[in-house]
């Protein structure tokens, strides 16, 4: 199973907080339905100018509390700083063996980095414009299609895996902590003429036969930008120029630094686009 995940360009699934360490208390059954918030799945996927996967991280919240988080590393990276991670993935990552300290030097950096990545996403998911987004999940990426195309080109995967939808296998590890409660999959249903149709895929039942509640919609920045500023802005650079965002530069040469700078740029663009949507909405 994990070997399959590796071939899907997903190298690391790293929950830092297992369910047992974060007691989750659901609101009482008598609480109003609207206040009983289901899981929040936040995902940040980054690609470079050539639509190659740079990396991703994800965080899962339950009742506004951190439940699990992890990073996604492209399998074809040549970054020497990731050798140790790669070694760990190949030799140690097995279903049910998600060790907190297994990624060595990244242990201390992961949570702060995810915190930085997800801070705007969490803010946006709650109240980007002074009101709920409408969903409780947020895919913060320039182009979901780019990620899909990267997967589509991968040898051994090709159209067979993509046809009819692509699953982000990170959430499929059946024996990972928390997996039994239903890890959703990101499925790209359609990729044609620059239009992406993505949705949360089938979610397995847990041991009690329960399924998670309905998952919120998926958006990506490219299409948000096109919706309010025209389809001509088909690159991140042109979108940043149109929204007067100065791309952030990487502070270091490592993978995390490069991805973080990319995320910082997207964060600025996302905020600008949300402000623009507010303007369109007369707020």
């Amino acid at each position: 199973m994990i070997a399959d995940l590796v071939r899907l360009a997903l190298r690391v699934a790293y929950p830092t907080a297992e369910p047992a360490e974060v007691p989750i208390e659901a609101p009482s059954s008598g609480a109003p339905r609207a206040r009983r918030r289901p899981d929040v799945m936040l995902l940040a996927v980054e690609t470079d100018e050539d639509q190659e996967l740079l990396g991703a991280c994800w965080r899962r919240l339950r009742f506004d509390r951190l439940y699990a988080e992890g990073i996604v590393v492209p399998d074809d990276t040549d970054d020497p700083s990731l050798v140790e991670v790669d070694h760990w993935v190949v030799h140690n990552l097995r279903p049910g063996r998600f060790a907190r300290d297994a990624v060595g030097p990244y242990t201390d950096r992961l949570t702060p980095w995810c915190e930085e990545v997800f801070r705007p996403a969490i803010t946006a998911a709650k109240a980007p414009t002074g009101r709920p987004v409408g969903g409780r999940s947020w895919v913060m990426t320039w182009d979901v299609a780019a990620v899909a195309s990267r997967v589509c080109r991968h040898p051994g995967v090709g159209g067979r895996e993509f046809y009819g939808g692509w699953s982000l296998g990170l959430f499929d590890a059946p024996n990972a902590p928390g997996a039994g409660t239903g890890y959703p999959r990101l499925r790209l249903r359609q990729l044609r003429d620059g239009v992406v149709s993505a949705r949360w895929g089938g979610t397995p039942t847990n041991a009690k036969g329960e399924r998670p509640r309905r998952l919120p919609p998926i958006l990506d920045l490219r299409h948000l930008v096109a919706a309010v500023a025209g389809p001509a802005l088909d690159s991140l650079d042109s979108a940043c120029t149109a929204f007067e965002i100065r791309p952030a530069g990487a502070t270091g040469g490592g993978w995390l630094d490069r991805v973080a700078s990319r995320v910082e740029t997207l964060d600025g663009l996302q905020r600008a686009v949300l402000r623009e949507i507010d303007w369109w909405s007369g707020r």
């Binding site: 987004v133 309010v228 369109w280």
Partner: protein
Amino acid sequence: MNLDLRALYTSGGVATALFRAIGIPSCSTRPLPDELAGPAAGGHHGGRTGASLVGERFHAVHLDLAQAYVDAARHAQISRLLLAAHWHIDDATHRLEQARDTLSAASDPIAAATAHDLIGRFATTVALIVPNGATVAYRERSAGGEYVSRFGPLVADFPLPYFGPDVLASALHDESACEIVRAWSVRPSRARVAGLRRVTLPGGVVFDPSRPDADLYRALGESRRAVANDSTASAVVRARREEGVKGLNVAAASGNFARVDRAPLGVGKRADVELIDPWGRRFTSRVTGFVETPGPDHCPLLAGAVTATTRFVVGLIGRAVTDAGGAIAQTLVDAVTIPVRRTAP
């Protein structure tokens, strides 16, 4: 208009959100009878564009009609149909024949079209015609199996579906008169649909559907101009917002009416779908690869009316050019290219 981020996926998503904010019902709630739905779909899909090209190398003036689709929708009175409680369908065969003959005999077709409000009266008219060599847009299947847009004399032994403006435009080109077998006119009821709401468009333009003269497309045109001339915004912001409103306008005037959503079927899977032919006959076909389903505002009648109107306007321009001794190098749905001076090869 209060935009829902879930609907904000393309300009079409914004246009859909706008329609729902106003209270315009989905076009799926306004089914046409099969005898009209078939020709409307056939007229839309069969003649979306017409293109012709002459000469090799030349200097040219290219006229691209600004806000072509929004203006076409406005003159075609699409807004009245969207806001109407009901659509009425009546026979327009004789009226369309009279209008075509009037236009054919006119020395100044633009003046005649304006004086007789030919676009407003016939944009949402669908006709079955036997072309008899009349100049119309059509699609021809190439040797490779793909459909190619053509524009020129067409001969057929059986009736073909066209929109009113296409029939009128054929009278601009030559003496060949098509035979109008039957024509239907779709008109809005005087009563408005219930639940309409006032919205504020980008740029602060208010659209009030309760007003007797309410025209969504006039308001959208004003919205684009207001955004483009907003003195409180920087040049970068103005340009960005104008592009955004332009996308919304085109989607609201045309794109959303033609929208179909494709769902992949998967390898080796098939599905039975119900189709309607250009003569209103329903049949079932087994397809592979993908299934197309109509979008929420899919309406070939409105989509075809708008594009046929732009073709008619382009035809009127071309006629004016040729009457003045000029020539037309190329025509598109909403543009025309006029050669002004030949150069050495």
